[in-house]
Amino acid sequence: MNSGALFTAVFLACAVEAVEALTIVLAAGTARDWRSAGMGVVSALLVLTAVVAVFGSALSVIPLGGLRLVVGGLLLIFGLQWLRKAVLRASGYKALHDEDAIFRTELAAAQAAPTRRRGAVRDWYAFTLSFKGVLLEGLEVAFIALTFGSNQHDLPLAAIAALSAVVVVAGAGFAVRYPLARLPENTMKFVVGVMLTAFGVFWGSEGAGAHWPGSDAALLVLVPAVALFALALVGLLRRGVATPSTAGGES
């Protein structure tokens, strides 16, 4: 896997998570209090930094074989979750992820909640809403960057890709003060699901001791093969769905 592929994979995956976190923070700031929402973001980033520092140093002392087995397995489970949801969305069994609608829902919920002050935080609701959003989505960003970076022995590049994604998405979002609804998020999620699954299969097998024919070049076959397989499943499922997007398979 070359540096460009590593950067693209981490950047795309982290951009998707950043869009979700941004939607929640913008809802908390717009409907409630920007200062409290900002404090929530800063607090979540501090917790995330501590988590990354602990896990990052732990990853460097684990032998590569064991690391690839655990990380490959986790990445594969993670990737299959994404891919499963992406296929269900694309085939109409699950509603499409609509950041615009999520923003409106979060906004309405935030406006309805009562204001409560706690210590230096003027609005506790805005603080916890943005804290939770940034921490949860940030954990996924950290997990992706750490696993990809440590497996490819290029943690700095993975970290730069993750930070670039967060900076680009946050910059664009705050410039327009609105969720990035025009971003093709469902397509990006499909691509990320394919990548996580393919890399999970590759690293998981290698971690368990298997050797891929062609070594790293096997990824050039695995990634398109997973993509084609997922697209074929979308085609098959679309035949069975009665009314697209309203079939109500999963919420």
């Binding site: 087995l69 499963r84 069994y93 368990a208 096997a218 397989f229």
Partner: protein, 85 residues
């Protein structure tokens, strides 16, 4: 305290395992099989791709089947009763 521990465990379960626990179990079993096969000197790179090729459609099919069942139940609920002959 117990509620917080439960919430903490539920968060990690949801974060790692997700909507379908069978997928996670299948991945763990496939990894164990790969490990066992390589120890026995058998080429094992194909085991995980086969597991994905089987597990993903099975997981999706379960959702599709549930959806079809729910749809047929709702149709049956709104259908007027037939007149006696």
């Amino acid at each position: 305290m117990i509620t917080r521990i439960r919430a903490f465990l539920a968060f990690w379960y949801d974060f790692v395992v997700g909507d379908d626990w069978r997928v996670a179990v299948a991945v763990v079993v496939a990894l164990a099989l790969t490990f066992g096969a390589t120890r026995a000197g058998v080429p094992a790179w194909w085991i995980l791709p086969v597991a994905v090729a089987v597990m993903l459609p099975v997981s999706l099919w379960r959702v599709a089947r549930k959806s079809a069942k729910r749809a047929s139940e709702s149709v049956a609920a709104v259908e007027p009763p037939r007149e006696p002959r």
